[in-house]
């Protein structure tokens, strides 16, 4: 009799504990986590079929706003992905490269160096680290990053992110737009926008800009100590591990008086990279020569708009093929189908953004602003609605 009672209690207790643990896990993994366009982009990278990407572009926001992977596939057959998160910190770049190599083995890795340009008093803070590391699978790279970057008393919140993010319940229902898209993305097996995000705006800088005067300017100034430390660490890692298929770049930015010191730091970063024998393509310096117009191709000081990203994608794809020998991989029918769908969505983004830019210009709005288009339910609904009226052929219906 007593034995029966003990067994019944044990079963009840264990089943209760299991249900609580399971639901807590599900909450942590899907609902009460940081869900935003960075999550979607990172998740999109990790659901790509293994070794199916020809090129991966690493960096921060300028990467996913500047390089349009669907366009690269449409025009050149190159499969690519912007493995980038908002204001990625200098510590992150090496780990981004290691994750890319671990998951994809691409023919080429293009690294945008924004992360190393920060001054020591202006380094990205915890949210920027989290946008990257919270979206990386729980592997040894993830563990090492946390252990090297954060003090011991902070680490528990990374191992059990629910401790950090349980308060995000108050972001709902607004946050459903990311949650629903993320679940759909995982179920589909690829991201519709392939990480691309833009803001529909044509930015016209108000003060003097120096983009067309800096092509010959090789002035340098010291990089921040933190940036330099992690740049060196990354370059040493690449050299020691004989990783050759990495090219570094600086995407185009509008240079004004304030950002001129950053321009000089970028030159110093380029020199250091080249001293290790790696290529550095500085489009901040040569951007104007390559046709990037500060009055047409940007949506704000640091990010290319839909026109600028179109130019940049063409520029790099040509370079990938002509100078670095990248050849498009053979894809399965299913993979091709997915990429074609992404191409359709890219054009929906393009046409919608074009229309929004026209409207803003008509209203005389060329300041820092505009409509954000990222892979979330709300944006998808908006661009599909617009396409239904203007380019119905882009929709499956």
């Amino acid at each position: 009799m007593k034995k029966k009672l003990y067994i019944s209690r044990a079963v009840k207790l264990i089943s209760f504990a299991l249900v609580v643990l399971m639901l807590t896990y599900l909450l942590q993994a899907f609902v009460l986590k940081r869900n935003d366009n960075n999550t979607l982009r990172m998740d999109g990278f990790f659901v790509e079929d293994k070794d199916s990407l020809d090129v991966v572009v690493i960096g921060a926001s300028d990467v996913y706003a500047g390089f349009a992977s669907p366009l690269a596939y449409d025009k050149y057959g190159i499969t690519s992905y912007p493995f980038a998160t908002m204001s990625a910190p200098p510590q992150a770049v090496l780990y981004q490269i290691r994750e890319v190599i671990k998951n994809q083995h691409p023919q080429l890795i293009l690294v945008e160096v924004n992360a190393f340009t920060y001054k020591d008093n202006d380094l990205p803070t915890e949210p920027s680290h989290r946008m990257f590391i919270d979206n990386v699978p729980r592997d040894e790279i993830w563990r090492e990053y946390i252990e090297k970057t954060f003090p011991e008393d902070k680490r528990l919140e990374f191992y059990f992110p629910l401790i950090k993010y349980h308060g995000s319940w108050s972001d709902y229902p607004w946050k459903f737009k990311f949650l629903a898209t993320d679940l759909a993305l995982r179920q589909r097996g690829y991201s519709l926008f392939r990480g691309f995000k833009t803001v529909a705006n044509e930015f016209h800088p108000t003060g003097p800009v120096y983009n067309d005067q800096v092509a010959d300017n090789n002035e340098t100034m010291p990089i921040g100590a933190t940036g330099e430390k992690y740049l060196k660490e990354m370059l040493d890692y690449l050299s020691e591990n004989n990783i050759k298929n990495v090219v570094f770049t600086r995407f185009p930015h509008i240079i004004d008086k304030d950002s001129f010191t950053r321009f000089k730091r970028t030159n110093a970063i380029g020199n250091m990279i080249e001293s290790y024998g790696y290529d550095f393509i500085n489009l901040e310096r040569y951007g104007s020569q390559e046709g990037f117009d500060p009055n047409k191709d940007y949506y704000n000081w640091d990010h290319l708009n839909i026109y600028g990203s179109e130019k940049l994608t063409h520029y790099f794809c040509k370079k990938f093929i002509d100078e670095y020998g990248v050849t498009p991989s053979t894809l399965t029918e299913k993979q091709k189908e997915g990429w074609e769908k992404s191409v359709n969505y890219y054009y929906m983004i393009y046409y919608y953004s074009q229309e929004m830019i026209k409207r803003r210009i008509k209203l005389g709005k060329t300041d820092n602003g505009g409509t954000t288009v990222s892979e979330d339910d709300k944006s998808i609904y908006t661009i599909e609605k617009y396409a239904r009226k203007t380019h119905p052929e882009l929709l499956d219906e």
């Binding site: 249900v19 609580v20 401790i163 319940w169």
Partner: protein
Amino acid sequence: MTYTSINFLLFVLATVLIYFILPWKKFRWVVLLVASGVFYCLASYKYAVFILFTALSTMLIGIWLENVNNKGKETLKANKAEWDREQKKAFKNKLKVKKRWIMALCLILNFGILAFLKYYNFFAGSLNDILGSFGVSFSAPTLKLFLPLGISFYTFQSMGYIVDVYREKFPAQRNPFKFLLFVSFFPQIIQGPISNYSQLAHQLFEGHSFDFTRFKHGCQLILWGFFKKLVIADRAVIAINAVTATSDTYSSYGGTTLTFTVLLYALQLYADFSGGIDISRGVAQIFGIDMIDNFKRPYFSKSINEYWRRWHISLGAWMKDYIFNPLAISGPFLNASKKMRSTRFGKTKAGTHIAKVLPTAFASLIVFLVVGIWHGASYKYVAFGLWNGLIIMLSILMQPLFDGVVDKLRINRKNPLFIFFQMFRTFIVVLVGYVFDVAPTFNHGMMTISRFFTDQDFSRGMTEILGDSVRKGLGLTWKDYVLLAVCIVVILIISIIQERHSDTNIREMLDKKPFILRFILFFICIMAVIIFGIYGSGYAAADFVYMQF
């Protein structure tokens, strides 16, 4: 290690396992002693010397008292035949005085430490102010003093013990380790309850067997405590802290916001304190130890007197046993009553009543002055104590008048509306007392009361509370306030059930419900704590969402 940390839960789990695994039941109290020692040292090992001193001095003086008493009794017995009545009486008086001095030594030593650490700077500052106002240039230095963990609670508990030994309520504890456990029992060291030796000690030293029902009920009580503390109290305190951040910010808020803050404080204080006590009682219950309930739905009180019998019950009981009762039956108080009775006024109906209750009324006033000072070293706490004491004193003195009015108006005392009126009236009186708790200083407290009446502006209040494009609000979103409102409803429902079924143990009630219903209820409660609890370093959505690039 706070009671709501994961470390504390792991610590409790480890202690529970060791306690029940230990095969020698009669030594299980040693596990509790070691755990209490570890807990105290982890929290503040540097100041462990203070609790050791209190425990050791109280125990030794207790033994001394008992020895003196026994010796006196033996002497009395030995001289029973030889001594006449007068000699016996004289000896007894001498013995009593001696015992009193011994007890006083213990009280002076230990309350002296507490008073010095907690109140020295307050008194030094006050002295300087007073001397300064008379133009005396003397200045008592202020010191950088610290308060050892739980000093108020363990000092009161120990001093209660020494008074009871003096009163020969129980024999003195002669085992220093057992006494140290009574003083330092870890579930109650931070915020009580202040236990009585005769109620707690035997439970601590007895080796308890594992009891599944006690374990289950203990866990449920801990869960309920976590809910009150993490979901309600720690959420409400964000807004309260925003208002009380500095004296200047406090003064900048209008009457509506200050009223709202005091209301929120009533919720926060109850949820925080009773939640903490629930955790303490839950942990003790797992070990087989029943600690007294410190709260009995205080906001349902129909008078301020009743409120203090329902709020912080263990402090109230301590004050009653060791301050109120001795004062009320003390010579000067009884003499004053007698004197009044002999006057012309004392022979009137009102005078007879006042003379009768005078000792009680004055003892109440003094008790609440002490309660106020116990809360903290500041004039605002003195005001808090005085307010409560005066109201109680007036209500005792004027009871016949109030009864007469109620009778004249033919009000049925059992009418729910009248009961509700009494509760509401008492709650308002309690809130006025809380004003002095919330406000940074006594003057700010007075300012708050004046703004209650002169500065009510709903739309300004809403802007200050929720914020707008210019002002940040009090750090909580409207969703937080909705959540707090839901929590109030939950607490209210549970309290009404307990009130209607005279202290029904909700957990025992739930035991009789189907498994699946209990499963769902506890599951919801755990999830509510996990999701809605305020813990961790916090998540600022704005850091992620609005920081565009």
